[in-house]
């Protein structure tokens, strides 16, 4: 942990070149991800992991640059005005891959400015968002008001080009993703948590509220990624069942585990969430005491099928770790099937299993599979779009 902190300090000094080079450099990890992951199939508690995490934009030294408010607003309006043209003309948006639309990108641009410009957030937001179609122009004294910014005007342009031309996800640029009520550090090499998964957390918390006894056993998050589900469970379990649930989080990728470890630490949950390196149940296999010990298991394993991988949105296909997306040869269900099969060994009687799947086909398939086995109350739950996505079940008592 100390190592991570020391690294953080270094980034502060290194500044912009480094942010961009870390962002760029990080992408190399994605390519090497699977090989690294194959080697990382070993059990170890992820305590003192050595990792270079890119510093989130909002934590970069704010004294890096001074800009006039008028110039900043003009730069913002210029970038914003160019979005529509970029969408229709840039080769990176030629493919029909459900790319973000103009409105999405406008919001993202405002996030980029919000995280970079050192103004009272409410004031900045009013400035950036209140104008309807474009930013409110500033007049008089405000025009020349000098404010601090973490990026220079040129850097805004550079970074925004990374976003538009290379389709680098905004969350990787900001180094932060907002999920549920959490602000999680993310970067190349770790899956950006999706809004759908928030529903899985709600389902798990609902199960805890329904049967408070489950909270007296530890819970398990398989393939934790940023640590989102594990941290969410630890933080909100007390509200749901009256006692703080201990969570064991397991992550195979070294890169992702570094983010999980950082996020767990940021939320002060070192005691509540324990992070293990390994594939699915691997870190637990050796010890007998883990058998029938967990009150619940949650997981958002990779579930994208072979055919779907090619057609993915560029932000996902080019930049997010394949190992966190591709679900394997059995119709994308390698991980899901493994978890369904192994979970009963680790769950207490009546224990909860909650899984995110790729949609109706996987969910119903797994559902019918489980109904024939050691499971009770197998249900397929929809996400907020109404897509049957989650599989929840209890082990037989």
């Amino acid at each position: 942990m100390i190592a991570t902190r020391a690294k953080g300090l270094r980034y502060n000094v290194l500044g912009r070149q480094h942010i961009l080079s870390v962002l760029r450099g990080g992408r190399r990890h994605v390519g090497g991800g699977d090989a690294a992951r194959a080697k990382a199939w070993k059990t170890e508690e992820a305590g003192g992991m050595e990792q270079n995490l890119p510093l989130p934009l909002c934590k970069v030294d704010e004294k890096r640059s001074s800009v006039r408010l008028g110039a900043l607003v003009r730069a913002y309006n210029e970038l914003r005005g160019a979005i529509a043209g970029e969408l229709s003309s840039s080769p990176s948006f030629k493919r029909d891959d459900h790319a973000p639309n103009e409105e999405n990108l406008c919001t993202e641009l405002s996030w980029l400015f919000e995280d970079s410009v050192c103004l009272d957030p409410a004031e900045l937001r009013r400035l950036l968002r209140s104008g309807g179609n474009e930013c409110r122009s500033v007049e008089g004294e405000d025009e020349g008001r000098v404010i601090r910014s973490r990026l220079t005007l040129n850097e805004f342009q550079d970074v925004w080009h990374l976003r538009l031309r290379e389709r680098l996800p905004i969350q990787y640029i900001l180094g932060m993703a907002s999920w549920y009520d959490l602000e999680l550090r993310v970067g190349p090499g770790v899956l950006i948590p999706r809004p759908e998964t928030e529903v899985l957390l709600d389902l798990a918390l609902g199960a805890l509220g329904e049967e408070r006894g489950l909270g007296s056993h530890p819970w398990l998050d398989l393939g934790t990624g940023t640590g989102a589900l594990a941290i969410g469970l630890a933080r909100h379990s007390e509200g749901a069942c009256g006692s703080r649930v201990r969570v064991e989080a397991i992550e195979a990728s070294e890169n992702a585990a570094a983010y999980a470890s950082e996020n767990i630490e940021r939320y002060g949950l070192q005691d509540g969430v324990r992070l293990f390196r390994g594939s699915w149940f691997e870190p637990l296999e050796a010890e007998e005491r883990h058998r029938k010990a967990f009150g619940g298991i949650v997981s958002n394993p990779p579930y994208i099928t072979d055919e779907e991988m090619i057609g993915l949105q560029d932000e996902v296909r080019l930049h997010e770790p394949r190992s966190a997306l591709f679900g394997g040869a059995t119709r994308g269900m390698d991980g899901l099937l493994h978890i369904v099969e192994e979970s009963p060994k680790y769950l207490v009687p009546g224990g909860f299993l909650g899984l995110e799947t790729g949609g109706p086909i996987q969910a119903t398939h797994l559902g019918s599979l489980m109904r024939g086995q050691a499971w009770d109350r197998v249900e397929v739950k929809p996400d907020l779009q109404g897509v049957p996505r989650f599989l929840v079940a209890r082990t037989r008592k």
Binding site: P195, E196, E198, E238, G268
Partner: protein, 470 residues
């Protein structure tokens, strides 16, 4: 002797006494009301207008609200142009200040303040507030305590301001008495004293006016922050532009008052303007001041979007609800998850891992009442949902309250005055300029001033109207 003084003073005044020095003068006391203080400090740009004009313009609305027949600055100055006038004004103001001071009860407020401050200094207060999960209760108490302390501090400050100002005026009057009895003294000094006294009198008047208005803000939800939403009416671009003009007006209004306005949601119009927006406005009595804005605002103007510039009528609906922080009050409202229809704005596609789009906007519909709340302000779906739910609950609390009010007035056999959802105010830009409130009858031709956020006259009048109706 007195005639000489008066003549000299009049001559002095006609040369524009103190125009420069007054304008540059800073507020003479630590005023508890930042907005009103800020306004008094704006140097006037009108060539003939002295700082007096500025000052009295600033508090004009408050005077009207308090039912004062107080004129503008010149007439006040006129009344205090002589020592006799000063005495008259002093005698008029003194009983008001006295009764105000009696009500403020500075000693009691100070005792309460020190007790509360001691409580706030205790380390237990913030216990748990730094940990992430469950400090809600502690935090709530702490926030309430801080609100109490602020209120008490303002009370004490107001009382001491009034005491000091009254003391200043009395001292000036005494000095002038001595001067005139002694027969000597320089005209310059007398003029200055008189001017000082008149200035302080104006100050006292505006403090009392303001305080009286705040006394009107005794509605159950008045002290809360407000969530104000604007929806453009039918009529396309013109109506959407009108909605944006209103959005700007309320944003400016909040800025002028020193309130914090946070935009919660905005959906831009196709060509110009906005289809809808909602904002949270935080500040003392934000809801109280804004509650009278609820209703339909009608605009008549030459359309800027029409080649012929035809006369066009546009509508926008403004809704205002308090943002209720008290857990108790919101807890009273039971919302069953089954009664809620939650829709997210995630647009098609496969969703899940397949898609990375920052679509986190949430819409919640309360099925039994049909109330719908949208929130896209936060960056995550969970946060947007929590915020939308909080606003929804506030709306339900208000609905409940309105229902009770209606029952009460039915019992009393009175007409319900809160004719919400109907036109409340007309804004005519063409063929003449006039803004008229249909409930209170208040009207002004100062269209630009109002659209720049000076709603004081309208709001004060509404508060009086509300007080009279209840």
């Amino acid at each position: 002797m007195r005639t000489r003084t008066t003549r000299a003073l009049l001559a002095h005044l006609s040369r524009g006494l103190g125009a420069g020095s007054r304008a540059a003068r800073s507020c003479p006391h630590p005023c508890p009301h930042p907005c009103h203080c800020a306004r008094t400090l704006v140097p006037t740009k009108k060539p003939g207008g002295t700082a007096w004009t500025t000052r009295r313009t600033a508090t004009r609305g408050l005077a009207a609200a308090a039912g004062q027949q107080q004129g503008n600055g010149e007439s006040l100055l006129g009344r205090v142009e002589s020592l006799a006038g000063l005495h008259r004004e002093l005698e008029r103001v003194r009983p008001k200040v006295d009764s105000c001071l009696a009500l403020l009860d500075r000693e009691e407020a100070e005792a309460a303040l020190s007790a509360k401050e001691e409580e706030a200094a205790s380390p237990d207060l913030w216990e748990g507030s730094s940990s992430h999960s469950q400090a809600a209760g502690g935090k709530e108490n702490a926030a309430q305590l801080l609100r109490d302390i602020t209120a008490l501090k303002q009370r004490v400050a107001l009382a001491s301001d009034l005491e000091k100002l009254l003391g200043d005026i009395t001292a000036a009057a005494d000095l002038l008495d001595l001067e005139s009895e002694g027969g000597g003294g320089s005209e310059g000094v007398e003029a200055m004293l008189l001017e000082e006294a008149a200035f302080a009198l104006g100050e006292v008047q505006s403090l009392i006016d303001r305080w009286e208005v705040e006394k009107l803000l005794e509605g159950r939800f008045d002290r809360y922050a407000a969530c104000l939403s604007i929806n453009a009416g039918a009529g396309g671009t013109d109506a959407q532009d009108w909605a944006q003009i209103l959005q700007r007006m309320y944003t400016r209004w909040a800025e002028r008052r020193g309130f914090k306005a946070t935009l919660l949601e905005v959906s831009p119009g196709e060509e110009a303007g906005i289809k809808s927006c909602s904002m949270q406005i935080e500040g003392d009595f934000a809801f109280g001041f804004l509650c009278g804005e609820k209703g339909t605002h009608r605009l008549v103007r030459q359309s800027p979007f029409n080649a012929k510039a035809a006369r066009q009528t546009s509508f926008a609906a403004v809704d205002v609800v308090p943002v209720i922080e008290d857990l108790d009050l919101v807890k009273e409202v039971q919302v069953d998850d089954k009664e809620l229809e939650v829709t997210t704005m995630r647009s098609g596609g496969k969703g899940g891992q397949n898609v990375n789009k920052i679509e986190s906007a949430v819409r919640i519909k309360h099925l039994p009442t049909g109330i719908t709340v949208r929130c896209s302000e936060e960056r995550s779906q969970g946060m947007n949902r929590a915020k939308a739910l909080a606003i929804l609950k506030s709306k339900l609390v208000v609905l409940e309250q309105e229902k009770r009010d209606q029952e009460m007035s039915e019992i009393r056999g009175e007409v319900v005055v809160a004719d919400f959802g109907q036109q409340i105010r007309n804004y005519v830009f063409h063929p003449y300029k006039l803004i008229k409130d249909l409930r209170t009858g208040v009207e002004t031709s100062g269209v630009d001033v109002v659209l720049d956020g000076d709603l004081d006259d309208f709001q004060d009048a509404f508060l009086n109207y509300r007080a009279a109706a209840s």
